[in-house]
Amino acid sequence: MDMVIETRNLCKTYKIGEVEIKALRGVNFSIDKGEFVAVMGSSGSGKSTLMNLLGCLDKPSSGDFFLDGINTNGLSKNEYAAIRNQKIGFVFQGFNLLPRTTALENVELPLLYDRQKKHANSAQKARNALCRVSLQDRFEHLPGQLSGGQQQRVAIARALVNDPALILADEPTGNLDSYTSMEVFSLFQQLNDEGITIVLVTHERDFARYAKRVIELKDGRIIRDALIQNRLYAKEDLKLFKQSEIITPI
C-alpha cells in the first residue's frame, strides 16, 4: 500500500527563554493510504505538536517527515504553503470559519490559494464538498446562523475541497456535545470509507474506537500503536441513541 505519512525520529523542542520544552522526543510511525488513525494521550503529551508537524504548519527540530513520498525536510516556506494547500485538509477544534462569510465562501477559501488551478469552477467544487457533508441546503448561511455541528461540517468540507491526501483533525469534537460528536465521527467514517486517509486527535476512548488504529503518546513518545479491535460505527450508535431517547422520557 502507498505510504501517506512516514516519520523518522521526529523531535520538536520549544524554547521559551532559557527553558527548553521537549514536546516530541523521537516519534516513528507510518500511515498508509486509507487508514483512520486516532491519536490519544494525556494533556501536554504532544498530540497537537505532532499534528502541526504532520500538517506542515510547523517545522520539526530534528528528524524527517515524509508526506505522500516527499521529504518535507528543507522545503521553503512557500513549498510548505503549497503542501498545505494541495495535500492536507486541516480541521480545528474551534472550527475557525471566517466570520460574516457564507458557508460556500468559507469552503472556497483553499481554492483561492491554489496556484496550480486544478479547478476551473471553484464555486461548483465548493458546492460539491458541502453536499458531501450533507449541507446542500446551507450554502448561503453565515457561521453565526449554523449550529456547532454544522459549522464543523463546513470546516470539514473546507478540508475536503482540494482533494487532499490526508485530513488532519485536532480534537474536532472538543467543542461539541456527544450526540453531535457522533454525527461528526459518522461523517469521518463515511469519508474514510470513500478512501480518504484521516488522522485525528481525541480525548475520548469511546470515540477512538470509531477509528481503525490508535496511536497513544506520552511525554512526546509513542507508548502504544495498535489496531482497534471491535471497531464501532458511529451511524449505528446514533440510531441507538435516537431510540433510547424515544424510550426514556425525561
Binding site: 502541526n52 500538517g55 504548519l57 510547523d58 516556506k77 512557500n78 504553503a81 503549497a82 498545505r84 494547500n85 494541495q86 486541516f90 480545528f92 475557525n96 471566517l98 460574516r100 462569510t101 465562501e105 477559501l109 483553499p110 483561492l112 490559494y113 491554489d114 496556484r115 488551478k117 473546507r158 482540494n162
Partner: protein
C-alpha cells in the same frame, strides 16, 4: 493567488465592514476634496486677476507716482512730485514708441439719474482713453479734443450705470448729476464683463480729465498716467523712453532716484499671479496635511484590522496562503480604501466647484493635473500607510496566528 482572487478577497473583507470602511476613508475623502477645492480656488483667483488685468487693454503701460521703495531712500509721502497734465503733454509731444496716452483722474461720488441714486467711480481721461484701454463703445460717441479743451460736462458711462440709472430708457442724450454738476451722456461703453474680484469693470463713468479736475476734484494733480505702446515688441523701449521723459519733466538730476514707477501689463499680471500662486500653494499644502492625516487614519485602522483578524490570517496560511498572499491582500485592501476615498473626494470637489461656479459665489478652476495628482497621491497614501500593517500581517506564522485569542 491570481489578481482576480486578490481583488475578490480584498473587496469581500472591505464590504464586510462597510461603516468602518467609510469612516476609514473619511480622512482621505476630506483630504483629497480639500486639496482640490483649495487649489481650484487659488487658480480661480489667479485666472480672475489675469482676466481683469488683460481687460485693461493691450500693450498697456502704467506710470504711478512715487517709487516702490526698492533700494534708495524712501523720501516719504508728499515729498515726490505728483503728476500733472503737463507731464502727459510732454510725453505726448516727445514719445515715439507710444500710440496713445491718457491721464487718469479718479474720484468716486453719488450720481443721480432718472432711475435713482448710485454710488460709482468716475475717471477723468483724455481722448486717447479708448485706444489705451482697448475699449469700444456700445452706442453714442466718445468726447472730442474740443470737449477736453472746453471742459465740457459730458460723460460716457459703463453698462452697470445704464442698468442702475436708466433701467428702461436709452441713456444717450440724457443727463446725470454728479455732485450737483449736470453731465450730458454722449455714449455707452461696451461691457467688459463681470469679474468676481473687486468692483465690476462696467461700474464706471468716464469724463474729460479737464472737466473732472475742474468740477469734481479741484486742483491739478492726476492719479496716474496710462499709455499704450505701439506694439508688444516696443513695450520695453517705450518704458525706457517714458522714464527718460518723466525724469526730464520732473527735473531729476543724475544722483536722484525716480519719483515714479513704470509697469507694463505683463509685469502687473506677473506680480499678482505670483501672489495668487503662493496662495494656491499655501492652501494646497495646508489641505495636503489633512490628506496625510487621512493616511495615518488608514494605517491605524489597518493595524487594528490585522490584530483583529489574526486568526483569519492564521487560517488563510493554514489552507495554503503564502506570506506574500497575505501581504498583498492587506496592501490591496488599504489601497482600495484610500483610492475609493480619493475618488469620492474628487467627486465631492467637482460637486462643490460646480455649485459655487453656477451660483457665481466663487470662481473655481479644477485642472486635470490636480485631479490626477490627488488620485495618485491617495493611492500612494494607501501603499505607504498600508505597507507596515500588511508586513506585520505577513510576518505571522500560522500556529501563533491560529492560537491568537
Amino acid at each position: 493567488m491570481n489578481s482576480k482572487n486578490i481583488f475578490k478577497v480584498a473587496i469581500r473583507s472591505i464590504l464586510k465592514s462597510r461603516m468602518r470602511g467609510l469612516l476609514t476613508t473619511l480622512g482621505i475623502i476630506i483630504g483629497v476634496a480639500s486639496v482640490i477645492i483649495m487649489v481650484a480656488i487659488g487658480q480661480g483667483a489667479q485666472e480672475n486677476i489675469t482676466q481683469q488685468i488683460s481687460a485693461l487693454g493691450s500693450n498697456l503701460i502704467i506710470i504711478y507716482p512715487g517709487t516702490t521703495a526698492s533700494g534708495g531712500v524712501n523720501k516719504g509721502a508728499g515729498s515726490f512730485n505728483r503728476f500733472t497734465l503737463e507731464d502727459v503733454e510732454k510725453i505726448r509731444k516727445k514719445a515715439v514708441y507710444i500710440k496713445g496716452i491718457t491721464p487718469i483722474v479718479r474720484t468716486s461720488s453719488q450720481v443721480i439719474g432718472p432711475g435713482g441714486n448710485w454710488n460709482t467711480s468716475i475717471e477723468g481721461v483724455s481722448t486717447d482713453f479708448q485706444e489705451v484701454r482697448n475699449w469700444k463703445l456700445k452706442s453714442g460717441a466718445f468726447f472730442s479734443d474740443r470737449d477736453l479743451l472746453s471742459r465740457s460736462k459730458v460723460a460716457v458711462i459703463g453698462t452697470d450705470i445704464v442698468t442702475n440709472l436708466f433701467p428702461s430708457q436709452e441713456p444717450v442724450g440724457k443727463y446725470i448729476r454728479i455732485r450737483n454738476v449736470p453731465f450730458k451722456i454722449i455714449g455707452v461703453l461696451e461691457s467688459k464683463g463681470q469679474s468676481t474680484m473687486g468692483p465690476s469693470n462696467d461700474d464706471i463713468i468716464i469724463a474729460p480729465s479737464t472737466t473732472v479736475l475742474d468740477r469734481l476734484v479741484g486742483g491739478r494733480y492726476i492719479n496716474l498716467i496710462q499709455a499704450s505702446a505701439k506694439s508688444v515688441e516696443l513695450i520695453d523701449s517705450a518704458q525706457v523712453e517714458l522714464r527718460l521723459i518723466m525724469r526730464d519733466s520732473h527735473r531729476l538730476n543724475e544722483t536722484e532716484d525716480d519719483d515714479f514707477s513704470i509697469r507694463n501689463q505683463t509685469q502687473i499680471t506677473e506680480t499678482f499671479s505670483e501672489t495668487a500662486r503662493t496662495l494656491t500653494l499655501l492652501l494646497g499644502s495646508v489641505a495636503g496635511v489633512s490628506l496625510l492625516v487621512g493616511g495615518i487614519g488608514i494605517m491605524n485602522i489597518m493595524l487594528v484590522s490585522v490584530t483583529e483578524r489574526t486568526r483569519e490570517i492564521g487560517l488563510r496560511l493554514s489552507v495554503g496562503a503564502r506570506s506574500s498572499d497575505i501581504l498583498i491582500q492587506f496592501l490591496v485592501e488599504s489601497i482600495l480604501l484610500s483610492l475609493s476615498g480619493g475618488i469620492i473626494g474628487i467627486l465631492i470637489a467637482f460637486g462643490v466647484s460646480f455649485v459655487l461656479n453656477t451660483y457665481n459665489i466663487m470662481t473655481m478652476i479644477i485642472t486635470p493635473f490636480v485631479v490626477i495628482i490627488s488620485f495618485f497621491f491617495s493611492a500612494a497614501v494607501g501603499v505607504f500607510f498600508g505597507f507596515y500593517p500588511a508586513r506585520k500581517a505577513a510576518a505571522l506564522n500560522p500556529i501563533d496566528a491560529l492560537r491568537y485569542e
